[in-house]
Structures are given as structure tokens and as C-alpha cells.
């Protein structure tokens, strides 16, 4: 890439910036989808939140340590390049499966990091609802050395 092209790209990027900050749709899942909160398995949780879906097994990256020494605080990173409506995270080790649901808009950057607690080894699943109406899925199985729910 030559210098002139490079500068041109920069100008375009700056020009595109201020136009896009649309209002974020805030859906209260706690009120509209109460079953999600009490679901005990991942499949039930997904069903309660999104209905019967067949997510593509790609597009979403879930990162976590393979062996977590402390189940009380496992850092989990969810990343994706797909523009999303919402991102939901589930796990199957605890009595209740839902972890968090993120509401995003098309300009949001899907790169979240947060810490969760897990009772025992299990799988963390992330479901992404794209702006195109498709669903994408990412998962990681981790081992927990010391359970995090014993206080």
C-alpha cells in the first residue's frame, strides 16, 4: 500500500466516525423471558431466550484458561467480528445456567471480558444473535481445580 492510499483510508475512517451512534434497544430479558433465568440446562436456557434455533458453530470465540485454579473468578473473553443484536453466555456447571446477556447495536465492538464462578468443570457457551437474524455459537470446555461456590 502506498503512502497516498494510506492517507486516503485514514481520512475516510475519520469521516465515517461521528455519523453512527444509533439508539440501543434495551430489552429487559428478566421481564420478557423469565424462563431464561431459572433454566437449569444450557439447552433450556437457549430455548427460553431465543426459541428453537440451530446456531452455526463458528464466528464466536470464547477464551478462558484451560485449567482454572480458582473457580471463584474465571476470566472469560467473548469475541466476534459479526455485528450482533445480542450476545448470551451460558455455562453448565452451576445450578442455573444463564451467566449474562449483552445488548448491543451494530456499532458495538463484540469484545467482552468478565469473571464468572463455576462449581465444577464444565462448558461455557456463547450464543450470538446477528443483525442478519442468524445465530452463531462458540464454546469452550474448561477444568476447574477448586470449586467457586463454596465461599
Amino acid at each position: 500500500m502506498n503512502r497516498r492510499k494510506f492517507i486516503g483510508l485514514g481520512v475516510m475512517a475519520v469521516a465515517a466516525l461521528p455519523a453512527t451512534l444509533s439508539a440501543l434497544s434495551t430489552i429487559d430479558f428478566r421481564a420478557t423471558k423469565p424462563d431464561t433465568w431459572t433454566a437449569h440446562t444450557v439447552a433450556d436456557g437457549i430455548k427460553a431466550l431465543y426459541g428453537d434455533i440451530k446456531p452455526e458453530e463458528s464466528g464466536v470465540t470464547v477464551k478462558a484458561p484451560k485449567v482454572a485454579s480458582n473457580g471463584g473468578a474465571i476470566p472469560v473473553t467473548v469475541k466476534s467480528d459479526i455485528s450482533a443484536k445480542s450476545v448470551a453466555v451460558f455455562q453448565d456447571a452451576n445450578p442455573e445456567s444463564a451467566v449474562a446477556v449483552f445488548n448491543t447495536d451494530k456499532d458495538s465492538i463484540i469484545d467482552y471480558m468478565f469473571k464468572i464462578k463455576m462449581k465444577k468443570s464444565g462448558t461455557i457457551t456463547a450464543i450470538l444473535e446477528g443483525q442478519d437474524g442468524k445465530f452463531y455459537k462458540g464454546a469452550i470446555t474448561i477444568e476447574v481445580a477448586l470449586g467457586g461456590c463454596e465461599g
Binding site: A13, V14, L17, P18, L21, A23, L24, T26, D28, F29, R30, W37, G72, A73, I74, P75, Q91, N94, P95, E96, A98, V99, A100, V101, F102, N103, T104, D105, D107, S108, I109, D111, Y112, M113, F114, K115, I116, K117, M118, G148, C149, E150, G151
Partner: protein, 114 residues
């Protein structure tokens, strides 16, 4: 437990120096017990009531850019990191409520250079 006092929380912007158009990490940490409602208190033998943060909103100058619903699986003293593209000077505010109805907010000024 002193439940009524204002919670300690912190917002960090990483990296420290940023310009308009940069993508910055907004880190948010709050001191909160995040009780699941399943554990017994070791001293009294009674089950501790559930007490956890359930709603977090990240906004810039009043416009939310990420909202999240959170369940009790999130760890004690939760830490969240969200990415945000800087669009100008303003204030990043994080509002959070927990299941007992406690409402708090924390904000930090965003000062892009150049």
C-alpha cells in the same frame, strides 16, 4: 454486612492516552458480594439470601452503548471489560442495579487528545 453504604467501584480506561477514533477498553470493577442464595452462613447455619447485580448499563453522554443482564454466576467483586470507540469528549457512565433494588452509578470523563 453494611449493605446500605455506597459501593466502591472503579472505571479504568486503557490505554491512558487515546485519540478520537481509537478503540479503548473500559474496565469496570465493583466491590459486591454476589451471593447466589444457595450457600449457608457458616456461623449461623442459615442460607444467605441472594444478593447480586442484575443490570449494568454502559453509556456515553447518556447514550447507552452496551447493556447487560447479569446472573449470580458472575464472580464476587465483578469485573467487566467493554470496548468502545472514542467519538469525542464526554463522560462514560456505568449504572448498575442489584436484585435488592440498590442503584448506583459511577462515571469517568473521557478526554481524547488530538
Amino acid at each position: 454486612m453494611a449493605e446500605k453504604e455506597a459501593r466502591k467501584s472503579m472505571i479504568k480506561i486503557k490505554p491512558k492516552k487515546y485519540k478520537v477514533g481509537d478503540i479503548v477498553k473500559v474496565d469496570f470493577i465493583v466491590i459486591h458480594p454476589m451471593e447466589t442464595g444457595l450457600l449457608k452462613d457458616k456461623k449461623t447455619g442459615k442460607i444467605k439470601p441472594a444478593h447480586y447485580i442484575d443490570n449494568i448499563t454502559f453509556s456515553f453522554d447518556g447514550k447507552p452503548f452496551t447493556t447487560m443482564k447479569v446472573w449470580e454466576t458472575v464472580s464476587t467483586n465483578p469485573y467487566f471489560s467493554v470496548n468502545y470507540k472514542v467519538t469525542g469528549k464526554g463522560k462514560i457512565t456505568v449504572d448498575y442495579t442489584d436484585n435488592t433494588g440498590e442503584k448506583n452509578s459511577k462515571s469517568k470523563k473521557l478526554k481524547p487528545k488530538g
